[in-house]
Symmetry: C2
Subunit: 193 residues, 2 copies
DNA sequence: CAGGGATTTTTCCAATGGCAAGATATGGTT
DNA sequence: AACCATATCTTGCCATTGGAAAAATCCCTG
């Protein structure tokens, strides 16, 4: 089911992939819709049917990203060390998605295709530290602190800001700094059925 | 020394300020050069003389940002708690600059107006944790961890990702999470002459 | 095989970034 | 005060872009 004539048959996915590649190469705004359409071999208005406009395409990227993100986080379990590591793993594996997801001005965060997955991710992150301490207020503090650290690390890493100095292997390094910063808070090992 | 006729007299600064305002309102790419020129009351090509092109304007913003940033960090002293807090203070006080500075694809990071201040900032951050521990490798880890946390926090905060839940006062909150995460590493109080 | 919805194209428009050439102002020199 | 080199700004132009409107083509169902 390739392109056989008038109907492309697959335009939506092809455009998404082209967008992801373009984002990897030149950032979330370093390309034009017409460019992508050309590369897909269709007219410059063909994408409009699938995405509406350029913002719509970025919204679709964000939606796909948050879906996958929520899954990754959920699969990481309850330990916030693991959730933090999963956060970084996702960003490194899907840099283009990640680069869009946390820049809400690029897309429509309230779009029904985005909002649920977005909320799901936020919920997992917010509750990641639950019952670590007896004080719920401290829990939130821990959650935000962890979230901040992994988000910041990955942003800096993707942005090349950590390029000087010895090479860093993102996932392993994340584990180390989480332990460094939050290891001392850890309860005795949680039940592992 | 306002605009008196043909020569604006102050275009460079006026354009920079207009850009900063526009970035605050619609992000680093949510405006057009012509728009800013109109708001300054000059023709759409007038800015070219001062900045070359749009990227040049963003480069000037980044340069100004890193200058001010390096000063702020340097003034914070040696304690990496203070440096971290200063990091956040800067970002909150100069959100438009900050939004550009850490997105190198938006400007020309190697521009001679940017590179030195950028390097100065990086150096302060990299050595922020020096001699905290006997192990230099751990120092780097601590420095990157701290940097990541404050950078991530501020990115999330500026992006509105922390908007749900109780309101957060950035600088105070930063102090708390730095202490939470790194307080246990702290040497006995440094000499304060 | 007819109709209808889905998908894509062609055509058109306003706005943008940038270039080239010309106009105007400014300061220093004499 | 006249002059000129330079800095600053304008006008006119062009290719590219995002998007709207309308028409064309395809595919599925009955």
């Amino acid at each position: 089911m390739d392109q056989h004539g008038y109907h492309h048959g697959n335009l939506r996915r092809v455009m998404l992939d082209a967008a992801l590649r373009a984002i990897d190469e030149t950032g979330p705004t370093g390309w034009s819709l017409r460019e992508l359409a050309r590369s897909a071999g269709v007219s410059h208005t063909a994408p409009a049917h699938h995405f509406g406009d350029k913002t719509g395409l970025l919204t679709a990227v964000a939606a796909e990203g948050f879906e996958s993100f929520a899954e990754t986080l959920a699969a990481a379990g309850d330990d916030f060390h693991e959730v933090g590591t999963a956060y970084v793993r996702f960003a490194v594996a899907h840099p283009a998605h990640f680069r869009v997801m946390f820049r809400p001005e690029l897309y429509r965060p309230d779009d029904p295709a985005v909002a649920p997955a977005r909320a799901r991710s936020a919920a997992i992150l917010a509750t990641g530290a639950q019952s670590l301490s007896p004080d719920p207020a401290l829990d939130r503090k821990i959650a935000v602190a962890t979230w901040s650290m992994v988000h910041g690390f990955v942003s800096l890493w993707l942005g090349g800001a950590l390029a000087d100095g010895p090479e860093i292997e993102p996932e392993a390094f994340t584990r180390e700094i989480i332990t460094l910063a939050f290891g001392h808070l850890r309860e005795p090992p949680v039940d592992m059925p």
